[in-house]
């Protein structure tokens, strides 16, 4: 069975390579083409690829740094700095062969030492702190076979381990990655003016398909109202994650709207340790009271995909649309459950929402309207992102909150470990022995099919025990100047600027 898996991945890789090759028809662009892309927040948590945590920063570093392997838009892992790799029978040894001709932005060649340095930098725990990439504790040793090959030995087999190999490869000689931003990606880092803009430039000696647009300026636009005006005004060519009202504003302007998914699970996350949410019947009543479709109609004009449990659609391996019908809107059933739980005449609670995210705020507004029909009054508490991060997310003092949880790296284990009783980031305070038991079995199993089934069973439990009231994977609207094309949606937080190109009248 294992051999089969191996062939499958290899096949995939060759197909991807072929595919990327033949989008054809694009001439090598002249270096002076430029594009200005708006971003809502500054890269204010630094530029060191191994330490960065904000999704907005990772999205952009995707263009500058590459790992041994990298994701493509389908979510498959394709070879990057490594030309190919072999996994040993027992899944404990991974051997990577370095691709020849891969250069750093400063022109120097990528050496085995660089790769080893990068991996060890993430797995070493300096001074009692956790390693930069926690799962790397599973690595027993990394050794250089020859100038072209690296061997990594694991403590225990882990089918998801390959996903962690997307970690950025930096130069061994780079003592301060915070300021010396040198990677192997299609774009070079030029400059960063805090609170203002970030400049990138196409890297001409890129090993793969070169970027089409010469200069990329990332401009910070922090006021939602200004975004639409700036796009129409012509000072911005592209902006991601617009709301549907902003999209309706852009009708008739020189912008195409690309629609994809945000790859996150938006839900009304309930604090299971708090009265009355510790009672599963109350949680189920809430699931019955909420109608995801109505929320999607209000929040994003009907766009977006409903989810029944923690997995979002682009995580196709585990996403099961059937779970969506686990709780279809049924006010009578909700009231019945509430009566059973002893809350006939309802109760009231507060939904804490980070004020900066309009979609989550509007979702909460719709929820509070829907819950009224069941006799539950929910009032909103808007807080700043930082208060939400420390009060709600880290210290768990909240009753309910509306937020979207994304994944990096995109692995089932990373998605579901959050719900285990002692899981890292279990701000929902969800704990069920059955769930812990099934999750442990899933992690331990080495057979892919068995593991997938077990993970799916976890998702089923989450839905049955109504850990949270799952709603949707928010639509992702991207406005793109109609002179530019080639935008690709990725399942992870990544903005691939390299694939963008100007549709020159000449080469059509």
């Amino acid at each position: 069975m294992k051999k089969g898996r191996l062939i499958l991945t290899v096949l995939l890789m060759t197909m991807a390579a072929a595919l990327s090759g033949c989008t054809g028809g694009k001439t090598a662009d002249t270096p002076d083409t430029r594009i200005t892309i708006g971003i809502p927040q500054d890269l204010d948590d630094g530029l060191d690829p191994h330490k960065v945590s904000a999704a907005g920063t990772k999205e952009i570093l995707f263009n500058i740094y590459e790992g041994l392997v990298k994701y493509d838009e389908t979510g498959a892992l394709i070879p990057a700095v490594a030309s190919d790799y072999k996994v040993s029978e027992d899944g404990l040894t991974y051997t990577f062969t370095l691709r020849d001709g891969v250069k750093f932005h400063d022109g120097s060649n990528v050496t085995a030492e660089d790769v080893i340095y990068s991996i060890e930098r993430c797995s070493k725990a300096e001074g009692g702190q956790d390693p930069l990439v926690p799962p790397f504790t599973n690595i027993s040793e990394v050794n250089k076979v020859d100038d072209k090959t690296i061997e990594i030995k694991l403590v225990a087999a882990d089918p998801d381990f390959l996903a962690y190999m997307t970690v950025a490869i930096i130069q061994a000689s780079n003592d301060d990655p915070e300021t010396k931003v040198i990677g192997t990606g299609p774009y070079k880092f030029v400059s960063h003016t805090p609170m203002e803009s970030v400049e990138l430039e196409a890297f001409n000696d890129y090993w793969g398909e070169k970027a089409h647009i010469g200069k990329v300026t990332l401009k910070i636009v922090s006021d939602p109202a200004a975004i639409v005006m700036d796009l129409k005004g012509g000072s911005l060519d592209m902006f991601c994650r617009l709301t549907d009202s902003q999209v309706s504003e852009l009708k008739g302007s020189n912008f195409n709207i690309e629609v994809g998914t945000m790859n996150l699970a938006q839900a009304l996350y309930l604090n299971n340790s708090v009265e009355p949410f510790n009672d599963v019947r109350v949680r189920q009543a809430i699931c019955y009271a909420i109608d995801p479709q109505e929320i999607m109609d209000f929040v994003s004009g009907g766009e977006g995909t409903e989810i029944g449990s923690a997995a979002f659609p682009s995580f196709s391996k585990y996403y099961d649309p059937a779970l969506n019908d686990n709780y279809n809107r049924d006010v009578e059933k909700a009231k019945e459950l509430l009566k059973e739980a002893g809350y006939e005449n309802g109760f009231s609670f507060s939904i804490t929402v980070p004020s900066a995210y309009t979609p989550h705020v509007k979702t909460a507004e719709v929820i509070s309207e829907e819950l009224k029909e069941v006799g539950i009054t929910a009032d909103l508490k808007l807080v700043e992102w930082d208060s939400w991060l420390s009060d709600t997310y880290t210290n768990h003092n909240y009753e309910a909150t509306v937020i979207g949880i994304d994944l990096n790296p995109v692995t089932a284990r990373n998605l579901l470990q959050r719900y285990t009783s002692d899981g890292h980031g279990n701000f929902m305070e969800f704990s069920s022995e059955k769930y812990d038991e099934v999750f442990a079995k899933a992690v331990a199993s080495t057979d892919d099919a068995e593991q997938t089934a077990l993970y799916k069973e976890c998702l089923q439990i989450l839905s049955d025990e109504a850990a949270s009231a799952y709603i949707q994977d928010l639509p992702s609207f991207v406005a793109l100047n109609n002179k530019i094309s080639g935008y690709k949606f990725y399942p992870i937080y990544a903005q691939d600027f390299a694939s963008l190109y100007y549709i020159d009248e000449a080469n059509d």
Partner: protein, 302 residues
């Protein structure tokens, strides 16, 4: 004067003791483990008692070292220094607009006292004072930016690249800040002129054969400017606060934006430095107003 500065610095420092949210957590983001947070807090020295931290920080400030920004790990001075000229230029342009517009308009209104022009001017004055500045910003962007294409909304040009473009772009937001202040200045100047007009020395000036215009320009205007200067001194402080909102609408990376972002990032050193800076500017403005007072109004002993 120093007492006020000391008061403000204490208020700022105490404010962040109260506001929830922890800089360490905001830096580490969602996947921070409790151990990582604790270690970072230690490294930032956040665990030291409040008073110790306050006096350490105050000591550094006096020596000019405002510490490093938590999120950008650059020195606070370099960050603010880079953004200060933007907000200062905008405030200066707005101030010039206020002065350039309010004096002629007020003279006009004073000249046609009680006529329909005076009444109409008066009403429009009241309306202009009533418009919230962020609403004004939006209207200006919408009308002059999108429809009339006088400027590209959001097309901020940094003063390093092209200074003319930089000033050009700042005109629109400065107008948004200046308009309410212009209306207020016109109202104040007009009532000051009215007040001076009834004073005895005006009658003496008339008795010497001055025409109305001569009386206005040689005698009344100078004395009517005195209360206005106090207002302009205070107005600068409002303008800086006003610019925080307007910078959002016009997408200008000035002090206002840094202040708001740093507040939400709990970037204590940056916020404290900016607020101190604003307090210093306000106090310096009051000083300048006093000095102007003394040279215009000899009655106040030198």
């Amino acid at each position: 004067m120093l007492l006020t500065l000391f008061g403000v610095s204490f208020l700022v420092f105490a404010a962040f003791e109260i506001i929830p949210g922890d800089p360490a957590i905001s830096k580490l983001g969602t996947d921070a483990t409790p151990e990582m947070i604790a270690a970072l807090r230690e490294q930032m020295g956040l665990n030291r008692p409040f008073i110790v931290r306050y006096f350490d920080w105050l000591g550094d400030c006096i020596r000019g070292d405002f510490g490093r920004s938590y999120s950008y790990n650059r020195t606070v001075i370099s960050m603010i220094g880079d953004k200060l000229p933007i907000t200062v230029t905008m405030t200066i342009i707005s101030m010039l607009l206020v002065i350039a517009v309010s004096i002629p308009v007020a003279l006009l209104l004073a000249k046609y006292m009680g006529s329909t022009i005076d009444r109409a001017g008066y009403i429009s004055n009241q309306i202009l004072m009533a418009v919230p500045s962020f609403f004004l910003g939006i209207l200006i962007t919408y009308i002059f930016g999108l429809t009339l294409r006088f400027f590209t909304p959001g097309g901020y040009i940094s003063y390093r690249q092209n200074f003319a473009g930089f000033i050009g772009y700042l005109l629109a937001p400065s107008v948004a800040i200046a308009i309410p202040k212009c209306a207020m200045s016109v109202k104040l100047l007009r009532s000051a002129i009215l007040e001076e007009w009834n004073k005895d020395y005006v009658r003496t000036a008339y008795s010497r054969g001055n025409s109305t215009m001569q009386v206005m320009y040689r005698h009344v205007l100078k004395n009517a400017l005195i209360p206005l200067i106090t207002f302009w001194g205070m107005a600068v402080a409002d303008m800086i606060a006003g610019s925080i909102v307007v910078e959002q609408v016009f997408n200008i990376p000035g002090l206002g934006r840094i202040l708001l972002t740093s507040i939400s990032n709990r970037d204590y050193p940056v916020v404290e430095a900016i607020i101190l800076l604003i307090a210093v500017v306000v106090i310096v403005m009051n000083l300048i107003v006093d000095i102007l007072y003394r040279c215009i109004d000899p009655r106040i002993s030198k």
